[in-house]
């Protein structure tokens, strides 16, 4: 991907702080934020921060990766349902593929996702890791 500083800067709220849009009319929250509520078409939306804990809904271990991601293969990608019911797409880290279960509890961490060449922009975003119990 070709990344520019402005492009990365614009997404800082949603990528770093998990900002979503909450509809003040129907009350539903959607990530990433949108100008119009996709459920009721209301334009009366506000930016809110999502909870940083959730559960794995579905996941994949991806072996064939796009150009630029070869050093990270295999990637573990997942959809996580956060504590308020909002779902986000992200990467699972600090976990082995065989340890993952549907419903596994995870928490958000800030990690590097992409380096645009040796001298380009480095993109950071929220990933999820298992919550260690005991």
């Amino acid at each position: 991907m070709r990344m520019s500083p402005a492009r990365v800067w614009r997404a800082r709220g949603s990528r770093y702080r998990l900002e979503a849009s909450r509809c003040k009319d129907c009350g539903r929250t959607v990530y990433p934020p949108r100008p119009v509520c996709p459920y009721c078409r209301s334009r009366n939306v506000e930016i809110v921060e999502l909870p940083r804990k959730g559960r794995v809904v579905t996941w994949t271990v991806q072996y064939t990766v796009p150009h630029g991601y070869r050093s990270k293969a295999p990637l573990i990608l997942a959809i996580v349902e956060l504590e308020n019911g909002t779902r986000v797409f992200s990467e699972l880290v600090d976990v082995e593929p065989e340890e993952i279960r549907e419903g596994m509890e995870v928490e958000a961490v800030l990690r590097k996702v992409y380096e645009d060449g040796d001298e380009g922009v480095i993109v950071y975003a929220t990933k999820f890791r298992p919550i260690k119990t005991g």
Binding site: M1, A11, P32, T58, V61, Y63, G68, K72, R87, F89
Partner: protein
């Protein structure tokens, strides 16, 4: 529809976009009695990302001797071809032109898989999915795992789909993968993005297909066996997967199908033969359910019962489908419509299913942008 043409899907290292598009387009012209298209609609996904080539309408129109005529490219990722047909149809139905050429063209084989994978991933959400390195297969794998978990679908039952597609493609001279596979071979093939394996996925290939559409009056002069476009529908879903209300409810397919069925005055049970989108095995299941051929969560059971083979109603993908006919992404939707037209005319060179009512369903992304086109003899 008064003329169709297509090329074999293959690794056409010796042909550039001009020559490949022309091969299909000139066949379509020769399939008519002297058609003279007033505009050209090109379905294509990756000319920009892989070949740094926009203005594709001009490239194709000029290559086939139609310099001067209106031309444009329609992009809806892997659904570009079906959307190009919908646009071509509307240009004729609106009365703007009495004859329009639709050409689907895609070249994918010039670059290594990692580059093509990155190009295909542009169908997904760049800022929130692709930035993590997600491939198109990975996004479909998320859906497949959820499907298997919710409905208890067996892995070996889902593998029956690629087995059937390869069987059908053996008979299709235009197909890319003309060999049989077994359930065991599917289950032993390399994992691309767990639980999707290589033999669940459509191959990478080059191909072009073309149609000539004409108003009803002109159509009778240009062809002895014109095929009627009886219904057209389009639908969309969220670009990203996570925000969808239910990952297993393909709303873009349902919306498109509802419109197309209503316009044609038919129901799913009336369809004799269909070419549906099966970029991955899971895509086939969602397509079958979204079109109303099976209840949600039941299509894998129908495969176990041997449904959808040639002769069944509906027969699905007698061409071999995306899985084995091949999937030159932006051209696929045009291949499907051309194949169904030939099925209804009775001159498809592979497995013949015949019938009165046919359907072509093409989608881009993970059922993100869908067209459904109903044809009648």
């Amino acid at each position: 529809m008064v003329g169709v043409g297509m090329t074999k899907i293959d690794r056409h290292y010796d042909k550039d976009m001009r020559s490949l598009a022309a091969e299909a387009a000139l066949k379509a012209l020769d399939d008519t009695k002297g058609a003279d298209p007033k505009a050209v609609v090109v379905g294509n996904m990756m000319s920009s990302s892989l070949y740094q080539q926009d203005s594709l309408g001009a490239l194709v129109a000029d290559a086939i001797g139609l310099r001067g005529r209106g031309a444009l490219k329609v992009e809806a990722s892997c659904g570009s071809g079906g959307h190009a047909v919908a646009v071509g149809y509307s240009l004729v139905a609106s009365g703007l032109y009495d004859q329009v050429m639709v050409v689907g063209i895609e070249k994918m084989c010039d670059y290594p898989t990692s580059v093509v994978t990155a190009g295909l991933a542009q169908a997904a959400d760049a800022e929130y999915e692709v930035v993590y390195g997600a491939s198109f297969a990975a996004l479909n794998a998320l859906v497949m795992r959820l499907y298997m978990s919710r409905y208890g679908a067996k892995r070996e039952s889902i593998a029956l789909w690629p087995v059937m597609m390869h069987e059908n493609a053996v008979h299709n001279p235009y197909a890319q993968l003309r060999f049989r596979v077994t359930v065991e071979a599917v289950l032993r093939s390399p994992v691309i993005a767990d639980p999707i394996r290589l033999l669940d996925a459509a191959p990478i290939g080059d191909g072009a297909a073309a149609l000539i559409l004409a108003s009803e009056e002109v159509a009778r002069k240009l062809s002895d066996a014109p095929v009627l476009i009886a219904g057209v529908g389009m639908g969309s879903d969220a670009l990203d997967l996570a925000s969808r209300q239910d990952l297993l409810d393909p709303i873009s397919i349902r919306y498109a199908a509802k419109q197309a069925y209503a316009m044609a005055g038919i129901e799913p049970r009336n369809v004799d033969v269909a070419e549906i989108h099966d970029a991955f095995s899971i895509t086939a299941l969602l397509s079958i359910e979204g079109l109303g051929f099976a209840e949600p969560g039941k299509s894998w059971k129908e495969l176990e019962e041997g449904r959808y083979r040639p002769g069944d109603k509906p027969s699905l993908n007698p061409s071999g489908g995306l899985k084995a006919r091949g999937h030159p992404v932006g051209a696929t939707g045009v291949y499907q419509v051309a194949e169904i037209a030939m099925q209804l005319r009775g001159d498809f060179p592979g497995i013949k299913c015949g019938g009165e009512i046919g359907l072509a369903m093409n989608t881009g992304g993970v059922a993100t942008l869908t067209t459904v086109i109903v044809l009648r003899r």
